[in-house]
């Protein structure tokens, strides 16, 4: 945690209570978004996303493995994130800490629960062989709101991913790298994160806003407006009105985000 002087905290809060922000954005405005896909040739899918100055790279690597016994006909996604020490003076090298694990679990939940990825179509042989997709989030520059940037980058990387087609011959799986196919993506879900500062809910908090927030709320939503994931963070409470306001803004913003994603990485 960086230490924010009390006077700056007061400044930002007073400004936000007047519905203004230090960087001139409206309370419900995202920072500039940049999306680039196919940035890592050795990964089957990849994307680099910049949200303001927050920047990350997501790479997707597939493997063939055994399904979980309770879902023998479903593929598996495994999400992992690295808050690299290069991204912030406060990130330390070492195994993932609680912030990193929360990030990867929330991203995983948004992707999984939205059912945007049809996991049944990632089954090769029921009960024995399915596709395992490793989603690796590589955070290289941290300037606030990793959640929304990470979900956006993950969805862009999934849209960019191509797997070899599979055939079964004599009980053996043959991978056909000449015939690649995109992932079975059937919908798009993205995330909007809010910081409660003063008595306002502020979309896409910057680093300094994140450091003074009393509470944080992330909402994952599908294109049809269904809420597929939520995560409350921060030490302070939220009231019901705060949450309803955030959901309303999310409903407005998700179609805009999807439109932006479609421009760089069309869905099929």
């Amino acid at each position: 945690m960086d230490i924010i002087p009390e006077i700056i905290r007061e400044n930002i809060t007073n400004l936000i209570n007047k519905k203004e922000r230090t960087d001139g954005r409206a309370l419900d405005e995202f920072r500039e978004i940049f999306i680039e896909t196919g940035v890592i040739k050795k990964a089957e899918g990849s994307a680099r996303v910049k949200l303001g100055n927050t920047q990350l790279i997501v790479g997707i690597k597939p493997q063939i493995g055994e399904p979980f016994p309770d879902t023998p006909n479903m593929g598996i996604i495994i999400t992992n994130s690295e808050l690299l020490p290069m991204a912030s003076p406060t990130f330390e090298p070492g195994p993932p800490d609680e912030r990193s694990i929360e990030l990867s679990r929330v991203v995983d939940r948004c992707i999984r629960e939205s059912k945007m990825l049809n996991l049944e179509k990632l089954c090769i042989v029921e009960g024995s062989s399915v596709w395992l997709l490793f989603i690796d989030l590589h955070i290289i520059d941290y300037d606030g709101n990793l959640f929304d940037a990470a979900v956006l980058a993950t969805v862009a990387a999934l849209r960019n991913t191509k797997l070899p087609t599979t055939k079964i011959e004599d009980d053996e799986i043959i991978l056909d790298y000449d015939n690649l196919q995109p992932l079975p993506l059937e919908d798009t879900a993205l995330m909007c994160t809010f910081a409660k500062i003063g008595d306002q809910m502020v979309l896409d908090p910057s680093l300094e806003e994140e450091e003074i927030l009393t509470a944080r709320l992330s909402i994952g939503m599908r294109s049809d407006g269904i809420i597929c994931a939520m995560q409350k963070g921060g030490e302070g409470p939220l009231n019901i009105e705060d949450i309803q306001k955030a959901i309303k803004i999310t409903k407005d913003k998700i179609p805009q985000l999807i439109e932006q994603l479609d421009k760089t990485t069309p869905h099929r």
Partner: protein
């Protein structure tokens, strides 16, 4: 049909070329950019063939770990890390024995260029992220780290620049690709201070005669000097002449 042979092609024809069509003393296409990250004190991005390397520098900053502190100078710490998606088969995140060794020799390769006496009890952290690997990542990391250190404003006597040579199909060649590294007989990464040509990193893996070693070292220095020009251009592009 008339075939016009240009001098370039003549050179190609007369010299036995490598699998990727390069001449023995030719490096892969290279690109360096300085100062591309927001939070880091200094940063750089390097592409060399299929390698993509990102380096961030933090410091000089207070050494949190007491036993690291030196009363008369700063210390340099390096962390070389490969992204899980940087290689064909997904790499498990976190350090392995190879990356720990590379981190150590990288710090030692960079150290002679740095003027650390001005920053007692502090630490300079160099984080090298291999985003995509295609042979020669340790040398690419050192070359990029030196640019990031300059971008961070760390006082330096000179840049440090690295390039590998090796022996492939009985011939000494410069800047081995992943394929050549796998199939070759020897691989020799070298880092130098280009101004006085002192050597700050030397490793060798494979069999070379004394003659071959001399040839390889000379070729490595030649390669380093070429890459040094590109390092300087990257810094000039960021900061002007």
């Amino acid at each position: 049909m008339i075939i016009i042979i240009t001098p370039d092609e003549l050179k190609r024809i007369s010299k036995p070329t490598r699998e990727d069509g390069r001449a023995p003393d030719e490096i892969r296409p290279i690109k360096i950019e300085a100062g591309i990250l927001e939070r880091a004190d200094g940063s750089s991005y390097l592409e060399l063939g299929g390698n993509k390397i990102l380096v961030a520098v933090y410091g000089p900053r207070e050494a949190q770990i007491k036993r690291l502190q030196r009363p008369d100078r700063a210390v340099i710490r390096c962390r070389y890390n490969m992204a899980p998606f940087s290689v064909e088969e997904r790499k498990r995140p976190g350090p392995d024995r190879r990356s720990v060794e590379i981190s150590k020799i990288t710090a030692e390769a960079l150290r002679p260029a740095l003027i650390l006496e001005k920053f007692p009890r502090s630490v300079i952290d160099v984080f090298i992220e291999v985003l995509e690997a295609e042979g020669g990542t340790r040398c690419a990391g050192i070359t990029a780290a030196s640019v990031a250190l300059a971008d961070a404003g760390i006082p330096m006597k000179d840049m440090v620049v690295a390039c590998a040579t090796g022996k492939v199909n009985g011939k000494i060649v410069l800047d081995l690709s992943e394929e050549e590294d796998k199939s070759g007989e020897a691989d020799m990464p070298v880092a130098i201070l280009p101004r006085n040509r002192e050597i700050t990193l030397l490793q060798s893996d494979g069999n070379l005669t004394e003659e071959e070693f001399k040839e390889a070292l000379n070729l490595a220095i030649k390669g380093c000097l070429k890459i040094n020009k590109i390092q300087k251009e990257a810094l000039k592009k960021k900061y002007g002449e």
